[in-house]
Symmetry: C2
Subunit: 442 residues, 2 copies
């Protein structure tokens, strides 16, 4: 049995994530919620059918690297530049306020007599890390809701999409700095120099790789599979060298590798192949592995309180932060609320950060439950807040009917893959080609 156990684990993981994400989809909830629930149910929290094994551990690590690589691949650098000052300010204030909020809540609860942390990093860093988790934004669910409401093309809608892309980049920077500091024996300056060196390294290697890759593509246009493999090798190289030589998180390296390749001619083909790898094997394993780390039965009263407060803080700080940013940029009050509401959802990004932090001793295992609760709660509540923010019933109904004609209305299973930038591109495609064939495979 033992040597075939992993087949059963894999079977259960695939079956449960799919079943639960189909169910959550029925209730208009994102499929990430379903996948997380699958992990909770299969893991020690409920049934205890699956434990953490090396197979699951390694594949979930690979899964998160591929997820971040896809996120990089699907970031449109041209769009990023176009997103403009307004989106930048919204994203920046929308990162700073939750960071502060998360830090304060963690500062209060992360104490021996309340929530005993088994993390190894200094308390200060642990508390900042909770803040970093709250900075993440996942707009895939927001985009779906806005499309449903017919509000995707409003001024607020555009601001949300732009800010979300920049938010990703800011999140990666925050993550990079804090994970590099996890090893407390190293001085802060050395850490910062190493980060700087990594970015210089990434820039040089990136430019060289990009040029060679483009030239190779132009020389050889038959077999595209070799480009996919080359991209994968580059991603693994950047991830590994980040972690091993510079003390920078591997997922930062993977994200940067994706960014570098995102400008090439074969990006779409490459991205679609990695999306397949992700949905068919790696993503379900990653999300379940998160669920496996949560042990609900052992949640003490302070942990429950911490969770509830963290959810409230997560929502309020994003609304206030992004709203404030929007206000600075001259948006009207109702638009400020709309933009804030559109940035509430944390989704998979927060999980990726939390997972990395836990591995590095930046987050105690007792905090996994609260983080999962924040992700699930904000993702479920985001559409409700958005609907309230955009409440204008008559216009809503009128627009809903016209929007229903769109063939892209259902992005289906895409949620298991990071697709903020992707959805953005889809939106553009919609405007241009309204009803042609899908740009990505389904």
């Amino acid at each position: 049995m033992e040597s075939y156990r992993f087949l059963v684990d894999l079977m259960l993981i695939l079956l449960c994530t799919k079943l639960l994400s189909i169910i959550t989809k029925r209730f208009h909830l994102p499929q990430v919620v379903g996948a997380l629930l699958a992990g909770l149910i299969l893991g020690p929290a409920v049934l205890g059918w699956i434990g953490e094994t090396e197979f699951i551990d390694k594949l979930s690590k690979l899964g998160v690297i591929v997820l971040m690589f896809c996120a990089g691949l699907e970031t449109d650098i041209v769009e990023l530049k176009k997103a403009g000052k307004a989106s930048f300010i919204i994203a920046l204030v929308g990162v700073v306020v939750p960071l502060l909020g998360g830090f304060i809540v963690a500062y209060i609860f992360n104490q021996e007599h309340l929530i005993a942390s088994d993390a190894t990093a200094p308390m200060m860093l642990q508390n900042v890390f909770i803040g970093i988790i709250l900075t993440a934004t996942s707009v895939s669910i927001t985009v779906e809701t806005l499309r449903e409401l017919g509000k995707l093309h409003t001024r607020a809608g555009n601001a949300i999409l732009g800010a979300a892309i920049i938010d990703d980049v800011l999140g990666v920077i925050g993550l990079t700095v804090i994970t590099s500091m996890a090893d407390s024996s190293v001085s802060v300056w050395l850490v910062l120099i190493k980060i700087l060196l990594y970015f210089v390294f990434a820039l040089i290697v990136g430019v060289i790789f990009y040029k060679l890759f483009e030239k190779w593509i132009s020389m050889y246009n038959r077999d595209k599979r070799r480009f996919v493999i080359a991209a994968f090798v580059f991603c693994l190289f950047m991830a590994f060298s980040a972690e091993y030589y510079f003390g920078v998180a591997d997922i930062t390296g993977a994200y940067i590798a994706g960014l570098i390749i995102s400008g090439t001619e074969r990006t779409k083909f490459i991205a679609s192949r990695f999306n397949t790898l992700s949905f068919i094997l790696l993503s379900p394993i990653f999300f379940v592995s998160i669920g496996l780390k949560v042990s609900l039965p052992t949640m003490s009263a302070p942990v429950v309180w911490f969770s509830l407060i963290l959810v409230v803080v997560a929502i309020i700080t994003k609304i206030v932060g992004c709203g404030l940013g929007a206000k600075i940029c001259g948006f009207k009050n109702d638009e400020c609320f709309q933009i804030g509401a559109g940035m509430i959802s944390r989704g998979e990004v927060a999980l990726i950060i939390a997972d990395k932090g836990a591995a590095l001793g930046l987050m105690g295992s007792a905090f996994f439950g609260p983080v999962v609760i924040v992700v699930v709660a904000t993702t479920i509540l985001a559409p409700l807040f958005l609907k309230v923010a955009f409440k204008n019933k008559e216009e809503l109904i009128a627009l809903e009917t016209t929007e229903k004609e769109y063939p892209y209305n259902k992005t289906d299973d895409k949620d298991l893959v990071l697709n903020d930038a992707h959805t953005k591109k889809l939106k553009e495609k919609l405007d241009k080609s309204h009803g042609k064939s899908r740009p990505y495979h389904t």
Copy 2:
């Protein structure tokens, strides 16, 4: 380092298999050869950069399951029935003769003072197992060569394609019987009853699954990803239950799962997704893991002799066996030689069988080298034999030029994925639509 070591392993595996398979392709050799060389070079035989780890072990197990699942998916049951009596007889005699030949060679060498075997199964079974390995046929390289020669549509060409499909099925049956017998403590009758029960089980479960799956597909035609996941779960279920409840090889279960799904409407979509999973991650790991098991430096003189003799026997027995079968069916003498030459190549199928046998104690580790040598040698020599068999220079040149117009002339990286049946379908498509879009993604 330790926890990131697997990223480096994966990077090296992907890089080397791709580089070497591009190089072998240049020399008109199948890419399987390149992938095997990659394993030999990275493993203890040459550089020793990669050792066997749990990560590689589990993923290569999953890889071979997915390879066999794809083989099943791409088997055209309708074609199988059409292949006719001639192909059946060719395949059958072409299986029996190599089985005998392999058995005899193994019987001579598999002795304490020649090649000491560390396998646990009775000697008799070990020797039969070497025979079973020689029964395998991989026609992908043959199809490529025939297409190049413009001989794919000849009577001999059709007979080869038909016989190759049936050969696969016979090979699976042989493998099933012998692996089930690996546990010597169980009586032969019990083993046969269990195999029979598994086929009954597979038939019942298969019919139920097929009906439900077809109904589901007809009910829901938007998101196709869920069908891919359902197919994967079914494949894992069949593989695991074969191994665990019936003592039948897991790859037999995977192959049968593929066969069952091969008749559904979504087969193409499902197969293309599994091909992606295979080429991007699992196949390279599987082929390298085979190479890792070969330690050339420790090859003793008897092992070298055994290898050479096995290569000769492998070639002669296929030519004689298939030729004899063709003769029985009334083919002309030159056609008999052509058919025999077309079935020489062993390719990945022999490796899959050998890998399974080694895991079950049916084959000593000293035999891995010889098997790899047989696979590489027969795969390299098959095109040469074919060219000799079809030597008719004028016709050859004339046909070569017309065939060059075919857009499918290069199947490129496909060799890493079992694609005998696939190539068959491609060939049909060629006849029908000569130049339209590719049926599978590239």
